[in-house]
Symmetry: C2
Subunit: 545 residues, 2 copies
């Protein structure tokens, strides 16, 4: 580990203008491009790559808050970035990194990112984006059609209509969910009968006018934490994001949903939106969207679908049946930086009704003027880069069929891994994959037998479960720190264990380079870590007690 | 103009995995990199570059919403992107593009963007970012010190403290302003005396508990439109973003500010935050921050400073006096993608008090767990890319001195241009530059004389002003469409014309490559466009009437 070289070389090039100091000397960064950007998986596989894991934050290295006064030489800084920063990031593109939703990307993608950065367009308005405003509207239209399947007349009428918007690119799923729920809130409490609308008058005046005692958003207990955040930001309050229980497959129970809304009605609380999930962050479960759509229709609620993770599954002819009913949603969120395989920072919100952004539209004199086609009139964010180009390229260069093959491969891999886990006497599958995510844990055979035995008293059963939770966490952390492979973990109510929340390993199989051999290795490594763990001994003590 | 080539070549490379189709054939995109990314200004200056301007949206080209079924050959798609998309973006890096806040970038920046895309880290949590979590905290700390100037003990204590955050990178100034005001709202209505806090209970319950009839945010009438958006999203209502008048230099009148807050108090409306601007989007005016800080202290309000545009001026020893008092703010927003010269998508929010994010903190079982150092616990956004690396590189490779020189150059250019305008008999300077932004318009000498003459009746004066507004808009649009140079426009209350809102040209001189000759050419082109304009004839008719 070298410290940063602070020897300050003379700037090169036109010394009068700092932007041009490096024009004549790009070698250092071109070399970095070659080492890293051309084959990230090779970079991550190389001997000198050393992921930090979650336990080592290298705080000491990043402790100084002094601004560098003088310029650093390009080669010195490039060396520093390589040795002290990039060699210690997480290998998210490695096929052994199966813990989170980041994967490998098509190999042309870094080149395209370089071009997009160089052009530095800002799609908030036509005056700083030119063609890219039209291109973004087209990409949003393609996704809109994928989800809602309207006819050509619809798109000919609305796709480029300045006063309307079929959706927007957002920085991520969180801002996309917030955008959808913002539009939903403002639509529920819109201007009428001399009331100016919540957008102008605020939430308190709006509730007073409409005669509600409060607003609620209803979602399954597996909803993403961004929904809680949205409920907070929008002034509704996290406590008014009301969770509904799930069935054995992790899907919202529609009977409980209906009951929840009726209970809220009796308390004079308006259910502003029902959120269906397709699929959940933790297990990839897809809610029964069509049945939820019926309930939303019955109670006249905005129906939002959080498909940030699963939305790309619509590309697969084999798998899209799971999403039946999504076309009845009022809004849908899909992240392009997940299973559309573009780099970070590309969420999308889609609105079935092109008029749904009318209650969030805004203007300014110097930008996004009334009547302009500027995208910024319809978006939560203001200035934004041209992330749509990346998705546009993937849609063309891979085609629907290529992308669908990636989706199918991930699901096949998840099914293979689930079967493999079920064949192990000492592993326990917690959620069967609907998409390419699954959860499981390590449980020695006699421990499992004791847990299942009616003879085991409840308090002992609970102590065993607690010891197993500690074991799962210990295995996950030591596997992460060893750096050979990475599996995440979460805590989930388990239908096979009386809805107790148990700690489980969580695997996301979005990288098509993840082989069966790698998955076998992951289990083998976990078994070895378990056998070496003091936490396993603690489990056995509880068993014998 | 060629249509996209839909001939579907055979995928190359490992045909089994779409992510690898292009591994062996990167030539097409490498060629695009060479043509565009290595010298964007040369690309924009080339003969076949053809910016669309705001009037031509090429909707016909982006009309299809059909997803491509089969893969397109890389060369065909690269050609399409070059000829039909990239050749018609806006030349934001060109030295003749002086209308908006996008500029040229250091030449190593596209390389770095390529590497960041290839590594595809997600700084929401350590498990997907490794060292970059520590690096982001360091960069935020550097900016925090630049603004608030705390001592080393402070940073040693708080910089890497998991439970606290000195700020965050955001997708842009809009989400950064929203983050600051969210934290401010939640702090004003925080948990106490058995009340759970607004974050859980929502705005209505919080106001009831605190006994206020409403919340307000107070800002000068020159506040950015993102503040109105934030007031809407947060449930406060746009009407409760209360504008305060400005002085002749475009700065909030502090006497009116105090009066506004007192009026709100009498209506039992709590001023949740006062927003100072440094500098305004339209003229670059910097509010009297120290005087505003006094008022915020007097009324116990959160003091937020929107320095999205101007914040980088703090780097300049010569100019930072303008920001005196910013160190007393509770929160400050600065955009790195503006005068820190990094690509789009890098806003920042900074909190003086490390505990200010306590009321917006959140957790989830699979991510951003309690106790973790994960940045995502403290941010409005969830998954985010590693934009901090770009700013980190600029801070080191240009150094404070290099960046300060860019700031000073911009301000020098603005002063030169203001003087040049004042020397023209037929141009009228509307705002003298405090930073590198100024506004002006074309007014023939006899027209100006008539407007100044007490003999001109008020209704004729108004008709002349209306005709001048139409002329300004006409000149701006035709200059934009001609594509040689680009100046933006806005509508501003003018202190020299009895606070009438007049249409003006707006120039942002952030690109150090903009020469005096270019600025002379901009005026000459505008004069010629005026003389050719039917709108000028209409002005003269009003004069003669």
């Amino acid at each position: 580990m070298t410290a940063i070289d602070t020897s300050h070389a003379q700037p090169v090039g036109d010394a009068d203008c700092p932007l041009h100091w490096f024009d004549a000397d790009r070698g250092a960064f071109e070399d970095l491009e070659r080492r890293i950007a051309e084959h990230p998986a090779d970079f991550f596989a190389s001997q000198d790559f050393d992921p930090v894991g979650a336990c080592a934050t290298r705080e000491a290295q990043f402790a100084s808050v002094e601004l560098p006064e003088d310029p650093t030489a390009p080669q010195a800084h490039a060396d520093h970035l390589l040795n002290d920063v990039f060699r210690h990031v997480m290998p998210v593109a490695a096929p052994t990194f199966v813990g989170h939703m980041t994967s490998s990307l098509p190999s042309f993608m870094p080149s395209l990112a370089k071009i997009v950065a160089a052009l530095n367009q800002n799609v908030v308005k036509l005056e700083t984006s030119g063609t890219l405003t039209g291109l973004e509207r087209q990409v949003i239209g393609m996704l809109h059609k994928l989800v809602f399947g309207q006819d050509n007349t619809f798109y000919a009428r609305w796709l480029h209509d300045a006063e309307h918007s079929l959706g927007a690119f957002c920085s991520g799923g969180t801002t996309a969910n917030l955008s959808a729920l913002w539009a939903s809130r403002n639509h529920a409490l819109r201007a009428r009968d001399g009331f100016a609308g919540i957008n102008g008058a605020g939430l308190v005046a709006a509730l007073r006018h409409y005669g509600y005692d409060g607003l609620a958003i209803v979602v399954s207990e597996r909803g993403h934490y961004s929904l809680r955040k949205a409920a907070d930001i929008l002034g509704i309050g996290r406590d008014n994001l009301v969770p509904v229980g799930v069935d054995a497959d992790g899907r919202m129970r529609v009977d409980l949903l209906r009951q929840t809304i009726q209970d809220l009605q009796q308390r004079n609380i308006r259910t502003m939106a029902i959120v269906g999930i397709a699929g959940t962050t933790e297990t990839g479960a897809v809610d029964l969207l069509d049945a939820i759509a019926d309930v939303a229709q019955e109670f006249d609620c905005h129906f939002h679908v959080d498909a940030a993770w699963g939305g790309a599954t619509l590309l697969s002819e084999r798998e899209r049946w799971r999403f039946a009913g999504i076309e009845r949603a009022d809004s849908v969120v899909i992240d392009a930086h997940k299973q559309f395989y573009v780099p970070m920072g590309a969420g999308m919100v889609l609105f079935r009704d092109p008029a749904r952004t009318q209650d969030i539209i805004q203007h300014a004199n110097y930008i996004v003027r009334k009547g302009s086609v500027d995208l910024g009139r319809h978006t939560l964010e203001g200035s934004r880069g041209a992330a749509a180009v990346m998705l546009y390229a993937n849609l063309h260069l891979l085609g629907r069929k290529g992308l669908a093959r990636l989706i199918d491969t991930g699901i096949d891999n998840a099914r293979y891994f689930a079967d493999l886990i079920e064949r192990q006497p000492d592993f326990e599958l917690d959620s069967r994959p609907q998409l390419c995510i699954l959860t499981y844990r390590y449980v020695p055979e006699p421990v499992r037998a004791a847990l299942l035995s009616p003879a085991t008293p409840a308090d002992r059963r609970e102590r065993i479960q607690q010891a197993l939770d500690a074991l799962t966490i210990d295995i996950q952390e030591r596997q992460r720190d060893a750096g050979r492979s990475f599996v995440s973990r979460t805590q989930l109510t388990s239908s096979q264990w009386d809805s107790r929340a148990i700690a489980v390993f969580r695997v996301v199989l979005a990288n098509p380079d993840t082989t069966q051999a790698i998955l076998q290795g992951v289990l083998e490594e976990q078994r070895q870590l378990a056998l070496d763990s003091a936490k396993l001994a603690a489990v056995m003590v509880e068993l014998e007690r």
